[in-house]
Amino acid sequence: MKRSKLAFWGFVGPSLFAFSLVVIIPLLVGIYYSFTDWNGIRSQVNFVGLTNYLDIFKDEGFVQAFIFTTKFTIASVISINIMGFSLALLVTRKLKISNALRTIFFMPNLIGGLILGFIWQFIFTKGFATLGELTGQRWLLGWLSNQETGFWGMVILMAWQMSGYLMVIYVAAIQNIPKELVEAAQIDGANAWERTKHIIFPLVRPAFTVSLFLTLSNSFKLYDQNLSLTGGGPANSTQMIAMNIYNTAFKFNEMGVAQAKAVVFFLVIGVITISQVYITKKSEVEM
C-alpha cells in the first residue's frame, strides 16, 4: 500500500508542483487582484470589493468583444470540424498520395499563430486586392477594413490552421473502426453515405467530444491570430475577449478590472466546455 502511494506522489508530485507554480498560484493571485484597484505598477494595492465586477458589465467594449467572440466561436467550431472530418475521410481512402496529403494538411498547424496572422494579412489585403483588380470582383477588395471581412478573415485563417490538427484526431478514430463492420455493411448493400452516417459517425463520437472541446476552448481563448491579423480593428470591432482583457491590463493600466474580466471569462469558458463534454459524452456509443 505504502509503496504505491510513494510511487503515486513520485510521479504526480513534480508535475503537480509545476502545474501549481504556473497555473494554480497565478489563478489564485489573479482572483485576489480582481478585488483590488491595482494598476500593474504601484506597490500599494487597495481592496475595492466587487466594484471591478460591476464595472465590467457597464463596459460596452467588453460586451461587444464577448458577442463577437461567441459568433466567431460558433462559426469556427463548425467550419473547423467539418473541414477536419472531411479531410480525414479523404486521407483514409486508399489513395497513393494520402500520406503526402496528411503531411500537407497538417503543415499549417506547425506555423506559429502570430506568423500565420501576418501571412494571411498579406493574402487578404494584397493577394485578394490584386486578384480583385484583375478579375473585377469588387468583393475581393478592401478586406480586413470592416468587421465583416475581419470576421471571415479570422474564420478562414483558423479553419486553415486547425483543420489539419483535427484531421489527425479523426484519422486515428476512423482507423480504429473495425474493418468487419464496414465490410459487413457494404455486403448488406449500404452505400458510401449510409456507411458514413450509420457506422463511421457513431463510432468516431469520442473523437468528436475531444475535437469539439479543443476547438471550442481554443476559439474562445484566441489571441495571437487576432492580434496579428486585425489587431482588433477597425474601430475595435474585431476585438476578442482575450485581447480586450490584455488591453485593459496593459494599455489602460487597469489590472484589477482586467483580472475581474479574466475571472468571468474563465468561469464562462469552464461552464461551456464542461457542459459540452458532458453532453457529447452521454451520447457516445460503446462497441
Binding site: P14, A129, S145, F250, K251
Partner: protein, 435 residues
C-alpha cells in the same frame, strides 16, 4: 529489490526537476567586487545598433562598468514588457518613460535627475512632461517632428511651389492640382492615409487640433474636459486626406485597411502618391526602398484652420529614466553613461551620425554636427523659424487617442458614425477617463 528500484527512480526524478528549477534561477554570473553592471531596457528599435556600439565605446573608456542592452520594440509591448521585468525582479537600471502618464504611474521607481549636468542644456519645454513636484525624472531621448511629407520632384513636375503652402486653402489647392494631373504624374492617388494606424490619426493628426487648444502637454494632462475647439479644422484635415487618399476598394471605409507599410513603403516610397502624413522616423523606411526618393522629400505644415496654419508638431517622443531601486554605484554609472552619450564630444558625434537623432540639447553647433537626412533638416528649419507646435498627445488620457478617438475616426470613415457624434464621444470619453 523492486522497492529500491522505484525509490531510485523517484529520487532521480526529483533531482532532475530540482536541478531544472535551480538552473532557471542561477543565470546571473558572479562579478568582481568593484565591477558595476548596468542593464538598459529600451524601446527604440531603430537605435538598437547605434546604442550597442555607443555602449561598447563607453565600456572601453570605463572598464569597470558593464552595460547590457535589451531592446523591445513598439509602444504597447514595451510598457507590458517593462511591467513584467519589474514583477519578475529583473529590474533594469535604465529604462524609457513616455511622458506625464508614465511618470505618474512609475514615480515611486524613478530616480530624481534634477542635479544632472545636462539639465540646463535641455531646450525649453522639453522637461515639463517629466517634472513632478519640482523634480526632473526623465532625460529627453531625441526631438522628433511630423507633418505632411511631400515628394519634391513630383511637386516640381506639377509646378507647385511647396514653400508657399502655409495655409489649409493653399494645401487643398495643391492637392486638387495634383489630383487633376494624377495620370500624367503616374500617381495612384495624391495622398496615402493610413486609417488603420490609429496612432497616426488618433494621436498625431488630432494633436494638431489639441496643440492649439492647450498651450502645452501639462495643460492637456491636467484638463478634466475638452472643448474640441478646432474640431472643424480637424474634420477638414481628415476629409481632405480621405477624399484624395488611396482607397483600396474605392470606398472610404477601406482606408481602414491601409497600414504604415502600405502608406510609406509601398505608396509613398514607390512614388505612387505625392503626400503622406508621417514623421522624420519614416526616413529610414523610405531610404530602404528608394534612396533617390528619400533625398528628395520635405515637410509641409499641418494647417489648422483658425489657428496655426504654417506649423508642424515637434516634441520629445521618449525619455530615459533611471531606476531608483538600484545600488548607488549602479545608479551613478547609469547617470554617467547617459550624460556621456549626449554631452561628450564622442557621444555627440554618435547621436548625430549613428543614432541619426535630432538632439534635444543645446551644444550641437559644430559643423559636422548637422543632421544628415532631409526630414531632420526640415524640422530644424521649422524650429528656427518658430513654426512649431507642441506635442500634447502625450497628455491624453491613457489609451484615449488610439482606442477611443482613433477607433471612432475609423467608424466615421466607414460611415457608421456621424462627425457630430464623434465629437460628442470624444468629449465624453475624455471626461470619463479624467473623472
Amino acid at each position: 529489490m523492486k522497492l529500491k528500484g522505484k525509490l531510485l527512480l523517484i529520487l532521480s526524478l526529483l533531482i532532475v526537476s530540482a536541478l531544472m528549477l535551480v538552473g532557471c534561477g542561477s543565470k546571473e554570473s558572479k562579478q568582481a567586487a568593484d565591477q558595476v553592471t548596468v542593464d538598459i531596457f529600451q524601446f527604440k528599435v531603430e537605435a538598437k545598433d547605434a546604442l550597442e556600439s555607443a555602449v561598447a565605446e563607453y565600456m572601453k573608456e570605463n572598464p569597470n562598468v558593464k552595460i547590457n542592452v535589451q531592446t523591445v520594440g513598439g509602444g504597447d509591448d514595451y510598457g507590458a514588457a517593462l511591467k513584467s521585468k519589474f514583477a519578475s525582479g529583473q529590474e533594469p537600471a535604465i529604462m524609457n518613460m513616455g511622458g506625464m502618464q508614465d511618470v505618474k504611474d512609475w514615480i515611486e521607481k524613478l530616480e530624481d535627475l534634477s542635479d544632472q549636468p545636462w539639465v540646463d542644456k535641455a531646450f525649453n519645454g522639453t522637461l515639463e512632461a517629466v517634472t513632478a513636484d519640482g523634480k526632473i525624472y526623465g532625460m529627453p531621448f531625441a526631438q522628433e517632428g511630423y507633418g505632411f511629407i511631400y515628394n519634391k520632384s513630383i511637386f516640381e513636375k506639377a509646378g507647385i511651389d511647396a514653400d508657399s503652402i502655409k495655409s489649409f486653402d493653399a494645401l487643398q489647392a495643391a492637392v486638387k492640382k495634383l489630383d487633376a494631373k494624377k495620370d500624367e504624374l503616374g500617381l495612384k492617388a495624391v495622398i496615402s492615409f493610413p486609417a488603420k494606424e490609429t496612432w497616426v490619426t488618433g494621436l498625431h493628426l488630432s494633436n494638431a487640433a489639441f496643440a492649439n487648444e492647450f498651450s502645452d502637454v501639462v495643460e492637456a494632462f491636467n484638463a478634466k474636459t475638452i472643448d474640441f475647439k478646432y474640431a472643424d479644422a480637424f474634420k477638414k484635415l481628415i476629409d481632405l486626406q480621405a477624399n484624395y487618399g488611396y482607397k483600396p476598394d474605392g470606398t472610404k471605409g477601406s482606408l481602414n485597411a491601409v497600414d504604415y507599410s502600405t502608406q510609406v513603403e509601398e505608396l509613398f516610397a514607390l512614388e505612387q502618391v505625392a503626400i503622406t502624413q508621417q514623421g522624420n522616423w519614416a526616413y529610414g523606411s523610405i531610404a530602404g526602398i528608394d534612396e533617390e526618393v528619400a533625398k528628395n522629400i520635405g515637410f509641409l505644415p499641418i494647417p489648422v484652420v483658425g489657428a496655426k496654419e504654417d506649423s508642424i508638431p515637434v516634441g520629445i517622443p521618449m525619455y530615459w529614466a533611471v531606476n531608483n531601486g538600484k545600488d548607488e554605484s549602479v545608479k551613478d554609472a547609469a547617470k554617467d553613461f547617459l550624460n556621456w552619450l549626449y554631452t561628450s564630444e564622442k557621444g555627440k558625434q554618435m547621436i548625430i551620425h549613428d543614432f541619426k537623432f535630432i538632439p534635444p540639447f543645446k551644444g550641437y553647433e559644430g559643423e559636422n554636427l548637422e543632421p544628415t537626412d532631409p526630414l531632420a533638416r526640415d524640422i530644424l528649419k521649422y524650429s528656427n523659424q518658430d513654426r512649431t507646435m507642441p506635442w500634447v498627445f502625450m497628455g491624453y488620457p491613457t489609451g484615449w487617442g488610439m482606442d477611443k478617438l482613433g477607433a471612432d475616426i475609423q467608424s466615421y470613415l466607414a460611415g457608421d458614425l456621424s462627425w457630430n457624434q464623434l465629437v460628442e464621444n470624444a468629449k465624453t470619453t475624455w471626461a470619463e477617463s479624467r473623472k
